[in-house]
């Protein structure tokens, strides 16, 4: 190797190193700049949910059924393909075989740092400045990488066309795109409560509350301030905005 070749090789190596480290840095700077977390910290609204499991009953399905009607979520009668934007499961303390079963609601956690938004190859999954994570069904290519990326299994896919269309104000669920809880964004934007919250109030349980986490006077903020709350898998750093009381 003569001197010229040496300098060429060294130049390529240096340039390559700069690129190799620079590109991820540029990409990651996108992650932190202008996230909903920061924008909402600047004064906007930041929607969150509090679920008070102490008031939730094992045998009640008011919220899940109201959600299904409101959002046209498909029920095919096969757990492999059913779409549950909110689902009620029964849990038991680990290792306590005779302990009583408790109800638990699982839904999209509206993460402040959503892995699904990071994963989506076409920006069809996006986060509004108020923190709500949505899917643009007209942009989605149906690759299902968001479902792979979601550590909560909150995304459900429309494997089949939904024959039912109960709520004509909302789009019909077509096959080929995923769905997850939108916090009934169409209702929130009209100043109404999400369907599940309304249904829960109707049966008198009042276990669900949705509101502005940035407003210290909102119901959710007061509940979080006065009760011990938990989010699911806090260790993942996704910063969920669905808080549980009594978990």
């Amino acid at each position: 190797m003569d001197r010229r070749e040496f300098f060429e090789a060294a130049g390529i190596l240096l340039g390559g190193t700069a690129c190799a480290y620079g590109l991820p840095l540029v990409a990651v700077s996108q992650l932190t700049a202008g996230t909903a977390e920061e924008e909402s910290a600047a004064g906007g609204r930041r929607w969150g949910m509090v679920i008070d499991l102490r008031s939730c009953r094992l045998d009640c399905q008011a919220c899940t059924e109201a959600c299904r009607r409101e959002n046209n979520a498909a029920l095919h009668g096969d757990p492999r393909w059913d779409v549950h934007l909110i689902r009620k499961v029964q849990v038991r303390r680990k290792g306590a075989a005779d302990a009583a079963l408790k109800p638990l609601l699982l839904l999209c956690n509206q993460c402040d740092r959503p892995p699904c938004v990071q994963a989506c190859p076409v920006q069809a999954t996006f986060q509004r400045p108020d923190g709500i994570v949505l899917v643009d069904q007209h942009r989605c290519i149906g690759c299902r990488y968001c479902m792979i990326a979601c550590p909560y299994n909150a995304r459900h896919y429309n494997y089949k066309e939904n024959p039912e269309w109960p709520n004509k104000d909302q789009p019909r669920s077509v096959h080929g795109v995923p769905q997850s809880c939108t916090l009934c964004v169409h209702r929130l934007d009209q100043g109404r409560k999400p369907a599940c919250v309304e249904a829960c109030e109707r049966v008198g349980a009042k276990a669900l509350a949705v509101g502005d986490l940035n407003d210290p006077q909102s119901e959710v903020s007061r509940l979080i301030a006065t009760h011990p709350v938990r989010v699911i898998r806090e260790d993942l750093g996704t910063k969920p905005k669905v808080y549980y009381i009594g978990l």
Binding site: P79, H84, V89, P121, G142, R144, I148
Partner: protein, 407 residues
């Protein structure tokens, strides 16, 4: 020494028969893909818990296979190893086709193919599934230009492009590993996946090249020096060992760390995973081929090298299954202290049952790749009339190779 590259004649009944068979194999895949496009991909075996299935396994498999081809091609292009020149063109062409096969596998897997234009208009720089298709498309272009330079005998450009192609291949395979490694799931998340993906790519790709080269030279009656195949076999043996090393580190880490121990057990000993890992990947796919390739007798026998290569090609398919599926069938641990007893949905460990539609799709893509490969041999001078090593076979030492025809 000088090689004379020539197209194959491609007029025998056998040639047309082979093409006809391949077309017949493609057709069911086309029908299945159309049905899924029309009615939804519930026709596959995929579910809400297993949203990625056989087509994704095949996609990463093809991407891996393309690597080895290119590396062999570059041994000539970059390092000037003239003995590999006879394979350089075939390898580059095969790498290109395998990448097309990978892209086709991904495309036929999409639920909303009609929205595909958004992958160009709304590129997401943070998404591994956005970055990778870009890498794949560029890779196809680079391979095509590289092949063109070889066909035109532009030696300077061949060397330059070979370097570009190999560097790009490293990006492609690291990126593909990152699709899974950079995801917060117990059995996916791993910084080791990109490099281990490269290792498995090299071993499976080299093994496939050995099979393709032998089949091609034997079927067309062209002379092939056994020493070349034996050398490739030695290379393959090293790659297989490297793959095993990565597998060992990855799984030892999982078992050692308390938080991933349970997932590690599931990966190594959970039902079908255990069969594919210990039986398919480690036993038949790594140990047996490694022994065959390093053994002084079998390592010099073409017949045994073919067996070892076939085993590696199958073993890495098991490895690709194990990259994609266990990470999905293993349930995410949502709570440290609660277990889910009842749900309207599938919680806990689930199973992935491949449907015949997916099998048709996979066979269809494979047949299409083979179809284009064979046509390419007829249209382009890809293979030399004979492939001999420059040093005399006497340097082989004692123990003459068992030159039994394999194809």
């Amino acid at each position: 020494m000088e090689y004379r590259f020539e197209t194959i004649e491609g007029r025998s009944p056998g040639f047309y028969g082979l093409l006809a068979v391949l077309v017949l194999l493609i057709l069911p895949g086309v029908v299945s893909t159309y049905l899924m496009y029309r009615h939804g991909i519930y026709l596959s075996g995929m579910t809400n818990r297993v949203p990625w299935g056989l087509q994704i396994i095949m996609a990463v498999y093809y991407i891996g296979l393309s690597a080895g081809s290119l590396v062999i091609s570059s041994l000539y292009g970059i390092f000037g190893r003239a003995e590999y020149k006879p394979f350089a063109r075939i390898a580059a062409y095969l790498a290109l086709l395998l990448l097309i096969g990978a892209l086709l596998s991904i495309l036929t897997d999409l639920g909303r193919l009609g929205n595909l234009q958004s992958s160009f208009s709304h590129f997401n720089f943070l998404s591994m599934l956005s970055i990778n298709p870009f890498l794949y498309n560029m890779y196809i272009v680079i391979c095509a230009v590289y092949l063109w330079a070889m066909l035109k005998e532009h030696d300077l450009w061949v060397r330059r492009l070979a370097l570009v192609a190999v560097l790009w291949a490293i990006l492609v395979h690291s990126g593909t590993g990152a699709i899974f490694g950079f995801v917060p799931r117990e059995l996916y998340q791993s910084p080791l996946l990109p490099p281990s993906f490269i290792a498995a790519a090299l071993s499976s790709g080299t093994a496939l090249m050995i099979l393709v080269i032998l089949a091609l030279f034997r079927l067309t009656g062209r002379a092939l020096d056994d020493l070349l195949v034996i050398k490739l076999g030695g290379l393959l043996g090293v790659f297989v060992i490297v793959v095993m090393y990565f597998l060992f580190v990855e799984n030892a880490y999982r078992l050692y760390m308390a938080e991933s121990r349970e997932a590690g057990y599931f990966f190594l000993f959970g039902g079908i995973n255990a069969v594919l890992f210990w039986g398919g990947l480690i036993g038949l796919g790594s140990i047996v081929p490694a022994v065959l390739l390093f053994h002084p007798q079998t390592g010099r026998s073409i017949r045994w090298i073919v067996v070892a290569s076939a085993l590696v090609v199958a073993g890495v398919l098991c490895e690709r299954y194990l990259i994609v599926i266990p990470g999905e069938t293993h349930p995410p641990e949502l709570f440290r202290d609660w277990e889910i007893r009842d749900s309207p949905w599938e919680e806990g460990v689930v199973h992935y049952v491949i449907s015949y539609h997916e099998v048709f799709q996979a066979i269809g893509v494979a047949a299409l790749v083979a179809f284009l490969f064979i046509l390419g041999l007829k249209w382009m001078p890809l293979a030399p009339t004979e492939a001999r090593v420059s040093p005399r076979p006497a340097e082989l030492g004692e123990g003459s190779p068992d030159g039994a025809p394999a194809a």
